[in-house]
């Protein structure tokens, strides 16, 4: 398999590929599959392949794009599109705020503007679990394959239609969620407060998703409220002593287990 060969080369330092690019590889692969589905979806709804790719290039987000394009199909007013996508994307403010504490000191405005473009759920997850401060070089390397995967997958899905077998597409649908699980589980095992926060977040998000009372909160609010309440409870019940950034024990993108 080509992938194994590439990882082998990097492990032997035969190729000077930045660590960030390697860390971004699983994200890029997952994004290809998800954005492939987005490409199919948007073209079936009447957008041209070029327009569909433009959406992925300028938005670089999953839930917001799916929701926004659905509203476009329904010819909804711009205000409504703005409000809905803003709500879905508000969680990025929490992620960006959390990253602001980990960005290397001295990172300039232009660099911060560039990094901001690529803050996705998965890029954030990998970045925040790094043991060191985040340099612009690391962040841009980390984003490279996810961005290419997202745009390439969209274009492929828009152009080729249903070439990817349905069973494979369905199976790949879980890959990004599996990465989230991989990031939080090692700390879940080690830290009781983190286990508590994770449990509260899951219970809240499931309640909001399932109970009819919370129907109006679904979509954007679900994740934001669950995160705000669970993290605030965690900070109140178990203030962090050293305030070290969370670190995942897993060997991200190193490929030693492949």
């Amino acid at each position: 398999m080509g992938l194994v060969a590439i990882i082998g080369c990097v492990k032997n330092k035969a190729l000077p590929i930045p660590q960030g690019v390697m860390d971004g590889l699983p994200i890029g692969l997952g994004y290809f599959a998800v954005s492939f589905a987005f490409g199919l979806f948007a073209v079936e709804g009447g957008l041209s392949p070029l327009t569909t790719t433009l959406v992925s290039l300028t938005n670089l987000t999953s839930a917001g794009q799916f929701a926004g394009v659905q509203l476009i199909f329904l010819h909804q007013p711009l205000f409504e599109i703005a409000l809905t996508t803003l709500l879905i994307n508000l969680r990025y403010m929490l992620m960006s705020l959390s990253l602001s504490q980990k960005i290397a000191p001295g990172t300039g405005l232009i660099q911060r503007l560039a990094i901001s473009y690529g803050i996705t759920d998965e890029v954030y997850a990998v970045a925040i679990s790094q043991p060191r401060n985040l340099t612009t070089r690391y962040m841009l390397s980390l984003m490279t394959l996810p961005i290419l995967g997202w745009i390439g997958g969209t274009l492929s899905g828009a152009l080729t239609g249903g070439i990817l077998p349905g069973s494979l597409r369905s199976a790949l649908g879980i890959s990004l969620y599996a990465m989230f699980v991989a990031i939080i589980m090692p700390t879940f095992k080690k830290s009781r407060p983190v286990a508590l926060v994770i449990t509260i977040a899951i219970v809240l998000s499931t309640l909001i998703a399932q109970l009819p009372v919370f129907e109006m909160l679904r979509g954007g609010w679900q994740i934001i409220l669950a995160t705000l309440i669970a993290s605030a409870l965690g900070a109140w019940l178990a203030p962090v002593q050293h305030s070290e950034p969370p670190q995942s024990e897993s060997n991200q993108g190193g490929g030693t287990d492949v």
């Binding site: 938005n59 703005a82 992620m95 997850a125 991989a182 589980m185 991200q252």
Partner: protein, 109 residues
């Protein structure tokens, strides 16, 4: 739909996606001193990833059963500290296998 509406809609979506990403990173320089806020921010990644995963993961594949199997494999591999790629491949394989098994079962029922 008109090209003007389409481009305006895409630009609107892009703006409300980029601004939440950029604002805190531009405005918040240096370390936040508040002990509560720092503790809060320590927990945010876990809370946000957990609430994005559950319950959405059960709708990520063709059947909640295959998604459940993938979720279980991801938890087991994650607890063992496996790499992101390994966990992603393991969960994807579990989903695929369960869906093939379900397909065979349906033929016999």
């Amino acid at each position: 739909m008109s090209d003007g509406y389409l481009l305006a809609a895409i630009a609107t979506m892009a703006a409300v996606t980029y601004i939440p990403r950029a604002l805190p990173l531009i405005l918040v320089r240096g370390k936040i001193e508040s002990h509560f806020v720092r503790s809060f921010l320590y927990y945010v990644p876990y809370a946000v990833l957990a609430s994005m995963t559950v319950p959405a993961i059960f709708g990520a594949t063709d059947s909640p059963w295959s998604a459940g199997a993938g979720f279980l494999i991801a938890i087991v591999l994650g607890l063992r500290g496996k790499s992101l790629l390994t966990v992603a491949i393991g969960a994807t394989a579990a989903v695929w296998l369960v869906e093939q098994a379900l397909r065979v079962l349906l033929v016999f029922i």
